[in-house]
Symmetry: C3
Subunit: 131 residues, 3 copies
């Protein structure tokens, strides 16, 4: 049975300003995630940031016993030129998901919440506990 | 049981050009909402508009017996500089949701549908009637 | 009963770089769709591209036995000025959905994945097989 009660994953106990993910009704919604290291540093380049963003999302999904293979969709917001972001996405997405990554929407943004960020990825996943 | 039949909430009876929300399968999808007053005037400043946008979303969710505490995620699109929008979001979100707001994705947009709008917020919520 | 197992629709068998849609838990998630012809040419003008984008989405939803009348929400990303995009949306959306189109979020983007594209539309739909 699906976990029908809404649950927020807030490991920062209110200090981040929002939950990192929620689970409800068979789905997991992750907050838009950027590419920062555990020490909060941000690497240069959209490709390095994308790899870290997916790694960070993977860590969030683990809280609910899910992984990126449970992703039902992703929305990728990039800052700057589209061509290098698309090229980076093609490489990173294949490395991350293999042959068939989840449905994707890829959109250029004027800015993200911090000027160091070049990409923010929002993933929705299925709750493995709901099947 | 979940309300499995798709239902549109269109209080303008077609005159707005789209439904303000839909309900299906245990979830409520609200249209992206901006910060206008009941007389359709738009206050200056991203913070005032954010407060109104959440108030407007709350009113829409009420149609389905839901409130902002049922939100499973939010996507916040802002126009203009990120820093003041983020600062405003931190204040308004804490006032609106308390300690742990729902998962959030915050993205800079080139424009919204009307140049007076500085922020548009899209909320997905769980249908309280589905639990 | 809902189709609870996650299914990807990848008619290009990995060559596109992501699935065109997924189905899980009573919902269908389509990738952001742009307005290209079957020969991959892209017409000029945001209105022509919108009409094609909806047509392309309709084709994708058909894979799961769904149609645009099953849409629970849509997010429309446009490049360029808002006013002509909004005017085009009002015409195309009425022609496509009739009186009450699904909930809508409409956002200006700096760029899409290819400079020829002026609009990208992301639709989530209910799985007719889940009711």
């Amino acid at each position: 049975m699906a976990n029908t009660k809404l649950d927020y994953h807030d490991p920062f106990d209110g200090k981040l300003g929002f939950a990192l993910a929620s689970r409800c009704n068979g789905l997991i919604y992750a907050s838009g995630m950027t590419g920062f290291e555990p020490d909060m540093s941000v690497p240069e380049g959209v490709e390095a940031q994308m790899r870290l963003a997916y790694k960070n999302i993977e860590g969030i999904l683990e809280h609910y016993g899910a992984s990126l293979s449970d992703a039902v969709e992703q929305v990728v917001f990039f800052v700057g030129d589209a061509a290098p972001a698309v090229a980076a996405f093609n490489r990173v997405s294949a490395d991350t998901f293999g042959k068939t990554p989840p449905p994707c929407t890829m959109i250029g943004a004027t800015a993200l919440v911090d000027p160091r960020y070049l990409v923010e990825i929002k993933v929705t996943a299925v709750d493995p506990g709901a099947a």
